[in-house]
Every structure is written in C-alpha cells, then in structure tokens.
Amino acid sequence: MAMPTAANDVTAGVSQISLGRAPLIWHDATTELLQATSELKLGQLVKDDSFSLYDSIGALEIMDAKMDSGLIPPNEGPDAFDVCKPMLPEEVVGLMDQLLAAEMSWHTATSLSQTVFTSLHVEHILSQYSKNPHAGISHITYLRDGEAAPESSGSPEALMHYVFRPYVLALIKCVDYARERMLQGQLYEDEDVSTMTFGWSPLEYAQCEEVLTLLDAANKWLEEHNEYLTDKIAQALQSRIALRWAFLVALSTPSIAESITAFQICLEHVEDASKTRFLAKEVPKAFSMSVQRTLASQIPPRQMMIRSVDDAYAYLERVCSDMRGLMVISEYVSGTDLFNYFQAFAVRRPVASGYVRASLQVFFLQELRVLGKITLQQFMVDLITEFAGVHHHVSVNAPEDASEQAVRAHQLVQDFLQKAAIPTVDLFRVFCHNRARLRRNMIKMLYEFDALQVEAEAIDAEILTLLNQQPLQTERGPSHPYPLSSWVYHNKLQLMETIILLGFELELYQPYEWSLMYWYLDYILDVHRHHLERTTVHISAPKTAPKLSSKKSKKNKKPTLPPMHPSDASALAFVESLHLQTVGYGHLSRGCFRLTAALTKLGLISRPERSKLAESTWYNLRLKPFLRIGAPEFVPFNDFKSVTNVDRVDATALLEVTQDYFAQAKKSIELFTKLPIDVKRTSLCETLHKASCSDLLRSCVANSVFSQVVRKMPTSTIAASGKVIKAEAKYHAWFQTLSIGDKAKKV
C-alpha cells in the first residue's frame, strides 16, 4: 500500500473490518483522476504488483459492441415482444418446437446464453425465479400484474396459462436434471457439455411432481376444450405435452429401469409430434440476444445458436434411443464384455450426446461399485481372471490355507487391487470423452499403467516365492505366469496401439510420417502377439500335478490330466481370439508400411524440403509418448532407420509383398469376426463389432486394389504427374483408404 497522502490519511492502512463500523461514502474523485493521470507518461501504468497485463487479456472492454454485452439493445420500447400476450394455438405449437430446438442445441454443448436462455418466455420465468429460488413457482406466470388466473375454458389466455406455461416450466426442469447428470460425469466444459447458468437457477428447487402435475392438468385441459381448438391442433399440442412429460420423467427419475421406459414413451411421442410439424407457426421475435445484457457473464456477447426444429427432433430421437441402448449393460456378463462395450460405444457415429456419455460414466460406477452391484476389487479380479486364467491367490476371498505365506500373498494382491483401482476405472470412463481428449488422456494413462506394471511385477515376484510356485518349463526356459503384471502389460500395449491408431483418425500425422507410424504399430503389435502367446502357454499349463490313475494295471500307466477349469478354458479361448486379431492387425500394418514405403520411393510421398528439423528429431517428437515407457523398449532412431532401409528393394517388389500381407490380414480378420460371441466377449456389442470388422476388411481390400493400381502405373507417369497421396477415412478411421489426388492448389 502507498504511503498515506494528505487527502487519504483517514483511510490509508485501515483494515476492512473497522471500515464496516464507520459510515462509507462515495467520494467523487473525477477531477483528481484527471489531474493525476495527466502527469503520467504515455504507456505508464499505475497498478498493483499482483496484477499483470497477462491477467487483463480476459477483461471486457466497455462500450465495445463486440465485448460489452450491456450494449445489446434490450427488449423494451414500442417494438418490444410482450411475453404476457396470449398467442394463437398454431403459434404455441411453433413456440414449443422452437424451445425444443433451443434445448437440443444446448445438449450439443452450446451455452445456455446462446440457446435456451434466449427465449424471452424462459427469461420471464427465470429472472423472477432467480431472485428468490425458494419461493416456489406457483406465483411465476405469464399473467400481467394484478391479472387473475383465467377460467379453465377455451380461450387464448387459458391456453397460455394451462398449457404453454407448464410446457416451459417442464422444459427448464429438464435442463436442470440434464445439467445435474452432466456435472456428475467427467466430461469437458464447452467440448462435451455446457453447464454454465450465468447466475440464474434453472428451477433447481422446484418440485418435479409439481411440474408433472401441471403437465397432467394441461393434457386434461386439451382433451376437454377442443371447442376452442381444432382436433389436429389439439393433437399436436397433446403430443408435445406428452413428449415433455415423458422426457422429464426420464431425466428426473433415479430408477434406471423407469427412465428407460420413459425414454421409450418419449420416442413414440417424438414420432407423433414430428407428424404435426406442419401446423406450427414460428414466432421468431420470441427469441433474442437481449437476455445476455442481464446475465452474469464474464464473456463477450455471443450469437444465438439454435438449430433447426427438424434437426432437434432427430437429435432428441437419438438421445432417447442411445439412453435405451445403455440399458444393455445393466446385466453383468463379464468385465471384458463390459470393456468391449465401452470401446464400441466410443467408436459409434454420430458421437453420442454429452448427456448420454455422462450417463454411461455414472451408470458404470455407482458409489464405488461397478453397475452399482460389483465391488471394484471383484471387478478387477474378474478382468484379470478373464485374461490370465485362474490363479487361486488372485481373489478377494481370504485363502483357505491359513498359513502365513498364503495370508501375506492375499494381502499383497489386495494391495495391488487397491493401487490398480483408479487406473482401471479410468480405462473405462475415458471412452466417454471426445476423440481428441481420448488420445490425450490415454497418453497420460499410459504412464500410470507403466508405473503400475513395475509394482505389479514386484508383487507377482514376491508372491511366487511366498507360495513356492514352480516355474513352467518352456522352450525358452523356466517361466512364471506373473498374472497381475501380465494383465497390466496387456492393457498397456492396447493403450499404445490405440494411441497410434487414434493419431490416424485425428489426422495428426503428415503423409511422410505414415510409414513410421505403421512400422511402430507393427512393432508394438508384434510385442503384444508374443505376450499373448506367453499368456496362452501359462493358461494351458496344468495347474495341479497330474494324478496317477487308481487302477494299478500295467496297461494303464499313463497319468490322466485333470480337466481344465472352465474359467481357464474361456480365458484361453479369449486370449487366442485376441491373438488372431493382433495377427490380423499386424499383417495390415505391415502391408500399409510397405505400401507407404513404396509410395515414398516413387516420390508420391515426400518430406517437405523446407523442413529444418533433423529426421531423428521429428522421430523422437512424434513418438514422444513412448520414449519414457519401460517396456516395450523404445526403438532408437538409428535402429529404426537401419531396420526399415528399403534402398535395395524396388517399389514393385514392395507393392507385391504389400498385397500378400493384405490378403493374409483379410483372412485373419475374417476368421476373427466369425468366432463365437462368448469367445470374443462381444455379447454387449456384437453388431457394432461386426460392422467395425467389415469396415476394416473393406479398407484392406481398397488399399490392396490401390497398391495393384500403383504397381501397374509406369514410373515415368508417376514422377511427372505432380500428384500426391490422399488418405480418407472412407471405411475405417484407423486404416484409411489411400488414393492418388491432385496437389492442393496454393491460395
């Protein structure tokens, strides 16, 4: 604080607390300000040390129309839209549709200030409610001051009061419940959802039952007063009221089963309502940006962004059917089935609405139990067993053998489950994010799983000593199963593969980087394939010593092996299916690598000459997420260069080999697709899974055809054409279809 001057002796150094006792006045310092600032030099600022110019970037400039929402013309004066004025029945239908359009636009993560809150009818209600949210809603109406509620007869005033008002109240309540669910999930503001309410309360304390009762009464009114309305209009209004009723029940009820039924009812009414769209008369003046001048907002004014009503109905339909689709997970089949569901859910196009994704996250983990019923520890034990087979110490139950070693081993396993809980939950929830965030978050999770693997290995090693487990004799020497770290490693490798493939989907890689990424993908897939083979060897190994047959006859001296435990059998089948899939992807990657290498040789793909980065630098930059990972070992640039050197191979030979790989990939993927659902563990997502596999096959075939085409093109034509390679996610987003196109014209 500055030294006290003559004028401010009284206030300088006095604490805020004591100020509260003395009377405060506003001292007009306008001339003092003018005089004092005139002494400053140009560019000189007087400011607190803690305030930097960087902080001022977000400041709103007053009187600048682009920044100052207070300059927006208010809804006042002779041209003002009067929300209390009763409307024609067709206008009420139109307005209900427009409000729905605003609501659905909000669901696409567009701010309330640009959508629902721009409705003057909504503003009328919320500006009153927000002043005293606990006073209820019964006094908030479209009646003018002093006006009494109209009689329940057929009249425009009654239509407004008994039908339109409940609709608006219910719509705002729907926004309230949807927003609550969005906040419970772990999604990104402005990207997936928009939860800001700018100081207004969306009827938070209003009772849902009260609003539902109003809607019921509205429905009755419409049935009783069709002397005022034509049958068609009455029907149109009734279907909209019924739709709103069902949607509100679906969003507000805590029971998942009840909400799914309500979404089904909502879908039926969406159909009815869409059929009566032609009766709607829109009221564009009922929506205005003027609301933004009254909202508490630290951002500049923004345009209204409301989609068309037809889009809105289609969107609502998708939300309802997506929510019904989530019901499939409520029957717990297995941890891996659930995981495959999440993967398939993330891949679906169009991407599910933020509300649906938040709901999936919330249904997945309810009060620290998976699907509200299975403990996290049991869930993880299931996941590990489904992959690595049965290991008696990997269990939540205390060991039957009460020896010190068994108890200690059990404790170590519980410690591991504790540490792995959050990474495991994240592994599922991350699939509800948008694709760009998915990749970023997977990179973060990769490091978590890497650290977890180290801990898991230590625990596995300690346990096998404690339990005096004998190694399995394999061709490569003695080997232990290491179930915990083996499962962690498998997930880690899957993360690495997905990170690379998402890069293709998000178009992060330049054409000259494709061959590198396909090669590295092949490297990871190869490591994964060996890991899966190792796992199958351990699952199929006999767990107990073979029993000698009881008949001591000389003929029957061969020991009989005990039958495989059913969990081991299904784990084995599952891991073998993964193996087949990995082999298929591996062939696909190899084909794509050789294809892009050949295209580089032919000059169709080239690094830009202006690039100042050394090749090794961009290699390390591009593979940065994998640099610090312990296993699999990072392939240094020089090793990569020497292994992938195709200088002595000609393009034609490369392209021939490419086709072989694509053919093999096709076979493996086809075989994999045909495996039984319970083996692949796709019982919750088989349709999507099949569709994804067939997309992959189409892409494979398309690229195979392309490589043939290139092979047959004379080299002279290629070099002279000035053409470039284009990649398109025509069939599958991860293995994109390549084609020859013209260079993009420089603007």
């Binding site: 003395a22 310092a29 306008t30 007087v46 709103l60 400039e61 300059l71 630290q298």
Partner: protein, 85 residues
Amino acid sequence: MATEEAAVQKLQSWLNKKTRVHASDGRIFDGKFVCVDRDQNVILADTDEYRIEKPEEKRFMGLVVVPGKHITKFEIQQLDPDAKA
C-alpha cells in the same frame, strides 16, 4: 518530477479500493480498482454493472476495462471524513 511522484502516489493509494465508475451511456460499474493509465482507461476487478434507473438489477461481469473517454464520473469508496467517530 515531484508532481509526477505525488500523482503516482495518489493513484496507488486508490488501488484495490471499491470504486464506482459512471459510463457515458448511463451504466454504473462497481468494482475493485486495479489499473489506470494516462488516458484514464480504468481496469476494475470483480465488477458489478447496473443501470442507474434500476439499481436492484445488477449483474456480475468480472474483469472490466472502462475506456477513459467514456467515463463521466469516477468515485472511490471512503470513510466519511465528516462523520463523528
């Protein structure tokens, strides 16, 4: 030089005080005074805005720059020097 120092000191003594700025279109901005320059461009933090004819309808705007040319009145909240102790 001395007048410049005194001017800077006066302005600094107002920093972080509750301030009321009247704008040329009739709006009023109540905020914490954090920065000023030669052209009387004033930056206020945690600002509330309202129209003089409707003082109860205030809204929160946060960090705000009021250009000097639009300032009609600049007030600082102080203890009443005439009040009895």
